[in-house]
């Protein structure tokens, strides 16, 4: 039976599975065919989180409010760290919102093999779907928080004469996309690493918390001395957080090199994570 003859005879699609495909072999067609699974998995995650809970989605708002109060008390009132001319409450609430999204995406993507083990061992579907579905789930929570953030911005504008809401705000999608890319890129790498070395999973909390203190969350980049700015730029979260606040309040320390380095690193992290994940997922059932 010759290969050419087969192809001519069969109008059906022929799929060949052979080992040792390259690192960059992605089955995008398959992902496209399963695109609806993204929606249904995200829906399931949301149902799992909010059905039969006492406060339901209220948790989404309570947490950033509490964190904001604490940040304002400790870092602003006690520590005396400036907030770039933005009302401290608004400053911390906005940063908390973005950070919660980052932490949620990183947390769910980095544990995707563990949480999806039951499903992935029984049925085939593109393994890239569950991590992306968890990004969607986190984005829904983010959306709810952004609505509250919008209300706060309006309140501060009318009551305290804070920065005027403006067209810049549309741009906030960009830093959020950047945050999602960094978080999922890191998450992919972490998921693959913890598959082999289980003790690494204990590190994920330290990584998230450490990154929070190293990124302009509780302080603006403006308070960082000039000589350390380039070092801070090596953390792609710096440019994302500064852009986020620029879009919301028009106040931030943004330079072209900061943006270039930040976006470059973000893309690098995301795609290297994707490639590693794609390679590891093919045999992950053998390791788990």
């Amino acid at each position: 039976m010759s290969g050419g003859g087969e192809q001519a005879e069969s109008a059906d699609m022929v799929r060949e599975i052979r080992p040792g495909r390259s690192w960059f072999h992605f089955e995008w067609g398959e992902v496209w065919r399963y695109k609806h699974l993204l929606y249904f998995l995200a829906k399931r995650d949301l149902a799992l989180t909010y059905k039969q809970t006492l406060l339901g989605p209220l948790h989404l708002v309570i947490r950033p409010f509490v964190m904001t109060f604490l940040f304002q008390l400790v870092f602003n009132k006690l520590g005396g760290i400036s907030t770039d001319g933005v009302p401290p409450f608004l400053f911390y609430f906005a940063n908390n919102t973005a950070w919660a999204f980052f932490a949620a995406v990183f947390g769910s993507v980095s544990t995707v093999f563990v949480s999806g083990k039951g499903l992935m061992g029984k049925v085939y579907f593109p393994r890239i779907i569950p991590p992306f579905a968890s990004v969607i789930t986190s984005a829904v929570s983010l959306g709810v928080q952004i609505v509250f953030l919008g209300c706060l911005i309006l309140y501060f504008f009318f009551a305290h004469g804070a920065a005027l809401p403006s067209w810049r705000m549309v741009g906030m999608v960009l830093p959020l996309v950047q945050l999602a890319m960094i978080a999922s890129g890191m998450g992919f790498i972490f998921a693959c690493a913890t598959l082999k070395y289980r003790d690494l999973s204990g590190l994920s909390g330290v990584v998230t918390q450490g990154l929070m203190y190293l990124s302009p969350i509780i302080f603006p980049l403006a308070v960082v001395p000039e000589s350390y700015r380039m070092l801070a730029a090596l953390n792609p979260l710096t440019s994302a957080m500064e852009t986020w606040r620029y879009c919301l309040f028009g106040e931030a320390t943004l330079t072209a090199p900061l943006l270039w380095v930040g976006w470059g690193l973000s893309f690098g992290l995301f795609f290297s994570g994707l490639v590693i994940f794609n390679k590891v997922q093919r045999k992950f059932m053998d390791i788990v």
């Binding site: 080992p19 049925v123 289980r198």
Partner: protein, 436 residues
Amino acid sequence: MSDQPSVPSITHGASPVPPAVEICDVWKSYRTGSLRGRTLVREFESLWARLMGKEDPNSLILDRTSVTSETAHRNRRFWAVQGASFSVAKGEVVALLGRNGAGKSTVLQILSGITEADKGIIRLRGRVASLLGAGVGFNEEMTGRENVYLNGSILGMQPREIASRMESIAEFAEIPEFMDTPVKRYSTGMKARLGFSVAVHLSTDIMILDEVFATGDRIFRMKGINKMKELASSGRTIIIVTHMPSLLKGLCERGIVMRQGSVVFDGAIDEAVQLYMEKPASGDSPSAEPLAEGVRDGSFHLFDENRMPSDVFESDGFFGVCIEFTAMEDFQNVRASVEVRTKTQGLLSRIAPTRRQLGKVLSGQRVRMVFEMKSLPFESQNQDYVATAQVYEKKPDGAHNLLKESCRFVVDNGGKDVKKHPVVCQGAWNVDLDPS
């Protein structure tokens, strides 16, 4: 496809159409026994030891004492599939049979893309859906309808397809009135029926099914089998794995038997089932306990009232177990017991050894031990029962195992809901030395 001349193509029969599924010389190994690389700390320990020229603290004892590193290396790889090849024509229903560890589940996993083979090529013509267990991914909080959407999309169906089949899925599962009830309120049977129903309504060209018939509801199972037949006659290719091949009678014409990672038989289903049921217990699968020295050709099977090997029994119906082996040396005080378990309930019943059960067995004697029950005291469950037979020699210092072997079976209740608590099995062992 220009780089494939080295790959042999297998055709079954004289079909002019290329087969829907082709598996060519597939090999798959798993790492076993190695402690290395479980944690990063250990990895550094090993690296440090190697750098310092010391013994690796995490190496297996085996590595240190073994004669050659070659054996140690071989011990760390377990070949689950060893050069399996077969092909399935379009519209064919094939049963894949084999004991635990025979490699059939691995073959299915490779076929469905859950894991990747080490070597070999798989060619699939058409869309594939694999269902290794019914109702996978069901969420308790969501309603039946939502779960059908979720389950269907996990299996690769488009929402439009699911919507158009929703009614017949609900109808088939016999729960149209409960589709908007959360699944957590469903009974086990309802859940199993719904999962199965989604599976048989898939529209893919190739279906790979593992143990989806493990439901105690006979009427529903027959319905499922009929639906499968219908699908096959409309050109679907079905590969099905089960531990209970008698369920497949009338559904498949062809059976493939795997043993120790290789295909040992490929042909008529009746012969395949026979070969699978009447297997030697010795070293057949890695999960079976190795036989003690001094016992040969051990086997264990369950049989029905017609004395035919079976794995489907009825609640309150006949149930027979048969253990056979040949003694290669003299034994003084031989006993046997059979225990029945399920995964969730644990030990259900024990067919206990009686005092004058077997006693003395001489070298060269062939032993057949039969235990018959008029009324099986188990209720129907949506899961497998596992019967484990054990033959042992009682010595002053304890029991010495001679034979240990398990069989899986299901209990039918004909669709009724029987609530019954398991009791001690009543009956007597019938021992036959040197049967013809």
